[in-house]
């Protein structure tokens, strides 16, 4: 199995615009890496190459996952972190990106708080750009690992109903997942406080569930988004307590889910807010599968794009 070549451009900026066969080829590649790693003989197609992690926002999980993926395939990893670098000295995003590009990595893996930041950088560098989350826009590797995890569990996403719940307005995970799950044949519902459901979200291909509770009961998979306190300066709901009561997935509510239905969370979990501990650690939880699959998916992404 060779890496599916990116046909339209050498960057992975989002799920929007990808096609199903490309995603399925990536999944096949991820499964192959997973098997090879499990058997103790990982392939190292990136030997002698370098990739750069350029993270303007804290994200231990995504950064580490990309780092392990790259190192397992033999690549050197440059970690260009915000603290202590020129970024905190007022250097612009583009200046930083051009400098990292000049060092010569095969890909820049970028995380930034501004929507469109990865696209902006891609216009000014020679290497590939892999979007590891840009503002509230997209987080493609997260959506791919989520869909991969669900496909692993269900065999197919065709006809499955997936509920994404929480702060949709600020969520890049939600947007990428809506595109990805729809491409793979699933029906997507979203739910959350109306203050956090952006206008015309239906035009991305999902439906807004009239009731969180009944949507949970109908879903084959429930993806609980992390409630990001740092993104709530506008008081979209009165209190975390009230949020948990109305949009949290409690043990009692989880018991109403369909047989075999699963719970996903992109992490890190606010235990007792969007997810109660017994659900996070319960039999329906795929959280640790997601983390493990994340490395395999990112190996497939890097093999495809970091050249």
């Amino acid at each position: 199995m060779s890496a599916p070549r990116a046909t339209r451009n050498p960057h992975l900026l989002g799920i929007e615009g990808l096609d199903r066969s490309f995603i399925e080829a990536l999944f096949e590649l991820a499964r192959e890496h997973k098997r090879a790693v499990a058997s103790g003989t990982p392939r190292t197609p990136l030997a002698g190459r370098a990739v750069a992690n350029l993270f303007f926002e804290d994200s231990t999980r995504t950064r580490t996952s990309f780092e392990i993926a790259a190192k397992t395939m033999g690549a050197e990893v440059l970690n260009w972190t915000v603290a202590g670098s020129s970024v905190s000295k007022g250097e612009s995003l583009l200046d930083t990106a051009k400098n990292v590009d000049a060092i010569g990595p095969g890909a820049i893996i970028i995380r930034h708080s501004s929507s469109g930041a990865a696209l902006l950088v891609s216009r000014y560098v020679r290497c590939s750009v892999i979007n590891a989350g840009d503002g509230a826009h997209e987080h493609p590797s997260q959506a791919l690992l989520d869909a991969f995890t669900l496909q692993d569990r269900f065999g197919t996403l065709e006809g499955k109903r997936v509920l994404i719940a929480g702060d949709i307005l600020h969520s890049r995970v939600a947007r990428s997942n809506i595109y990805c799950l729809r491409l793979l044949g699933a029906e997507v519902l979203v739910s959350g406080p109306p203050t956090l459901i952006p206008r015309d979200i239906e035009m991305l291909g999902c439906k807004v569930a009239p009731s969180f509770r009944s949507a949970v009961e109908m879903a084959d998979a429930v993806m609980m988004l992390r409630l990001q306190a740092e993104r709530q300066p506008d008081q979209a709901f009165p209190s975390a307590r009230e949020y948990a009561a109305h949009w949290g997935l409690t043990g009692a509510l989880a018991q109403q889910m369909k047989d075999g239905a699963v719970v996903l969370h992109p992490g890190p979990v606010n235990r007792g807010v969007e997810l109660s501990p017994e659900v996070a650690d319960g039999v329906r939880s795929t959280i640790l599968d997601q983390v493990a699959n994340g490395v395999a998916i990112r190996m497939a992404i890097l093999e495809t794009f970091a050249w």
Partner: protein
């Protein structure tokens, strides 16, 4: 003394004087002396051959940011005036959000002096409503009026404090100054960077709801009606806003309004790809709003086309979308974009000319806007058939931030005449001797 000037052979379109036909225009002593079907020759007069062209009263732009003093890297009064006359404008109104802010006669006089040195077009000056544009206490509105300010505005910012605005409305009446309003409830626009809708949702950009503008228009119409103030709404962008203004004008509220070429031409589709040249405040809206603005231009609800010319350099625009500065330049593209509405059948020729001449002149009580005898000798000669492609690199403005790069347009300025002197001709500025 400027020698006499005769513009021969053109089609004069002067809606205020109900002229639309072949006429010669004669200027003497910086004034219109005669508009007639065949003007007699005058010894020593300069001649402008306007055959095949429209001869319009000099265009007036109520809303420009010339950036001087304070941001001369983006524009100066000289470069802004060059851009104005290249775009056919013979008069502009300079906004007060300079550094220092024009909330004092000192700054007003500085801008007036620099404009005189530039010697290209009339620069009328807008003073601040509130000290420092902070919306906390009134600026010295009477002193600004005495220094020659033609209106007061906190443009760039709304006046959130309704009590302060009501006092300013009342107080400005003593000086017959119109009050120009940037309508935006900051608690509604909050951290928004583009209009609310499916595009903002897809791009993951925080939305600005229409109610941020519409609710403030409603509030200020109520205060204007009660106080009898002369109010002018800057850059209206929403269907709801023009509906309110239309209804208020019908009731006799003393209000005028302007719309920008970008708001009557573009929708939020221009933001795709996170194009920061499509980032402005108020933001580009959606098709139903564009249609409503066009209807309001046609039916008289909106009185003037104004550019909100807002120069910015790459430091402010080649950045993340949410961090980019608001604003686009417009002086050198407004006329052909207004003519697009004529070509599309949205506006008659006469109405388009009104919106660029007598409409704005009346809104702020400025001289000109027509070619009656004794009017200022300000004229814009337009080749209505010239096709060209908008190229920011060819702009006279110091800045390049336009969303119209590469657009094919029809209609080009051939001559701009200010005070009886040709200041722009053959694509070149004729600097003050």
């Amino acid at each position: 003394m400027v020698k006499p000037l005769i513009i021969r052979g053109g089609r004069v379109i002067d809606p205020h004087n109900r002229v639309n036909g072949p006429r010669d225009v004669v200027f003497k002593d910086g004034r219109v002396a005669e508009v007639s079907e065949k003007a007699p020759a005058i010894e020593g007069a300069a001649i402008v051959d306007a055959r095949g062209c429209w001869v319009l009263p000099g265009l007036i732009d109520l809303h420009v940011h010339l950036r001087e003093p304070g941001d001369e890297g983006k524009e100066t009064i000289l470069t802004g005036c060059r851009a104005a006359v290249a775009g056919g404008f013979t008069a502009v109104v300079a906004m007060p959000n300079t550094r220092p802010i024009n909330d004092s006669p000192l700054v007003t006089r500085y801008v007036q002096g620099r404009a005189r040195e530039a010697g290209l077009c009339d620069v009328f000056v807008a003073g601040a409503i509130s000290k420092g544009l902070k919306g906390e206490e009134m600026a010295e509105i009477g002193e600004l009026a005495s220094a020659g300010c033609k209106c007061i505005t906190d443009d760039g910012f709304p006046v959130m404090n309704a009590g302060l605005l009501r006092r300013a409305f009342l107080y400005a009446r003593a000086f017959s100054l119109p009050v120009m309003l940037h309508e935006e409830d900051l608690t509604l626009s909050a951290r928004g960077v583009m209009t609310e809708g499916h595009r903002a949702t897809r791009l993951g950009l925080m939305p600005i709801p229409r109610s941020a503008e519409v609710s403030m228009v409603a509030r200020d119409l109520a205060i204007a009606e009660e106080t009898g103030a002369r109010v002018h709404f800057a850059h209206l962008s929403c269907e709801g806003s023009v509906r309110l203004v239309r209804e208020a004008k019908r009731r006799g509220v003393n209000a005028t309004a302007e719309a920008t070429p970008h708001h009557f031409t573009l929708t939020d589709a221009a933001v795709e790809g996170y194009d920061t040249n499509a980032k402005m405040n108020p933001p580009l809206r959606q098709m139903e709003d564009v249609k409503a603005i066009r209807e309001a231009l046609a039916d008289g609800t909106i009185d003037a086309i104004a550019t909100d010319h807002a120069p910015h350099g790459p430091l402010d625009k080649e950045v993340e979308f949410d961090k980019a500065a608001n604003g686009v330049i417009g002086l050198e593209t407004a006329l052909p974009l207004a003519l697009e509405l004529v070509q599309q059948g949205v506006l008659s020729k006469e109405r388009a000319v009104e919106l660029l001449t007598i409409g704005p002149a009346r809104a702020f009580g400025l001289p000109g806007g027509h070619l009656g005898a004794g009017a200022p000798a300000n004229v814009t000669v337009v080749d209505p058939d010239a096709k060209w492609i908008i190229d920011p690199m060819a702009f006279f403005s110091k800045s390049r931030n336009t969303p119209f790069h590469g657009r094919s347009v029809i209609g080009k300025v051939s001559h701009t005449i200010v005070g009886g002197r040709v200041v722009f001709e053959g694509g070149q500025i004729v600097e003050n001797g």
